[in-house]
Amino acid sequence: MTARQRPPRQRPPRQRPPRQSPPRQSPPRQSPPRQSPRGQRLATRLIRLASSRLSGQDREDRYREWTAELHAIAHDPGTASRARRGARALLYAADQNRGVRQLRRRADSQAPHLPSRPRALRRRPGPIARSLILAVTMLTELTMTWINTHDVRGFAVTAVMTAGVYVWAVARFIRRADPHFLENPEDKEY
């Protein structure tokens, strides 16, 4: 039995139609912002965490204000690099946790006659616990980044920041060497 031989296909040679469009101009160096980049998602989470520590109307106002600012950072025409805009958004959001402490103090001083909270509720997480929470959040983001995108640059940036937060948390823990390190020293409950 002989194998059937097909006649060779004869395709007509491809010819590209001539371009009618004007010569292409080099695109601007600035990369277009994505709809929801990872850095901005993480920054939004950090802002949600920070504003959740405020109370009442202030919480909602600050969340609206800071997420609008995140949008401004993400679309900042003065910063060409998308990675830099993402890092700026993260720094902006992470630093709000520091600002919230002062905003809370201010709110407490304005309302001194509020009934005191129960003793158990007064124990807020301390700075080390907060930094550990932040580090775990970033580690989760790091893992999700790698699983979803395999983007080496984004992974590297997040990895360096996560490692920095871990080192910072461990350094504070070693420095304090206190069995009650997970509690906030401002509470003075122990």
Binding site: L91, Q96, G99
Partner: protein, 107 residues
């Protein structure tokens, strides 16, 4: 108002155009301050009546951009800022020379 270096930078940023409303990130860049410093400072200035804030009305062509919160110096705030900055610059100006001294070894 106790004028610190950070507050001085915020005042200078506002006084670039006292009538222009500024949003937080804009002020951060102009004053070179981190967010954790700027917002408590703005809240304190607002409590003292030196700064006022308002929400931007949602424009039609915003393209999904959320409305921003804008800050502006009040008239009292602008007056205080100018006064404090003038005081600070006066205090940091070098003292006037008391008189000519002869060069060592010539007297």
């Amino acid at each position: 108002v106790k004028l610190t270096g950070q507050l001085e930078r915020v005042f200078l940023a506002f006084l670039e155009d006292p009538a222009a409303p500024r949003y937080g990130y804009d002020l951060m860049r102009a004053a070179g301050l981190p967010s954790g410093t700027l917002y408590p400072m703005l809240a304190r200035l607002q409590d003292q009546g030196l700064v006022t804030s308002h929400w931007e009305p949602q424009p039609d062509d915003a393209g999904g951009r959320p409305p921003r919160k804008y800050y502006r110096l009040t008239a009292e705030g602008a007056r205080t800022a100018r006064l404090e900055l003038a005081r600070a610059s006066q205090a940091s100006a070098p003292a006037a020379p008391r008189g000519m001294r002869p060069a060592p070894g010539t007297a």
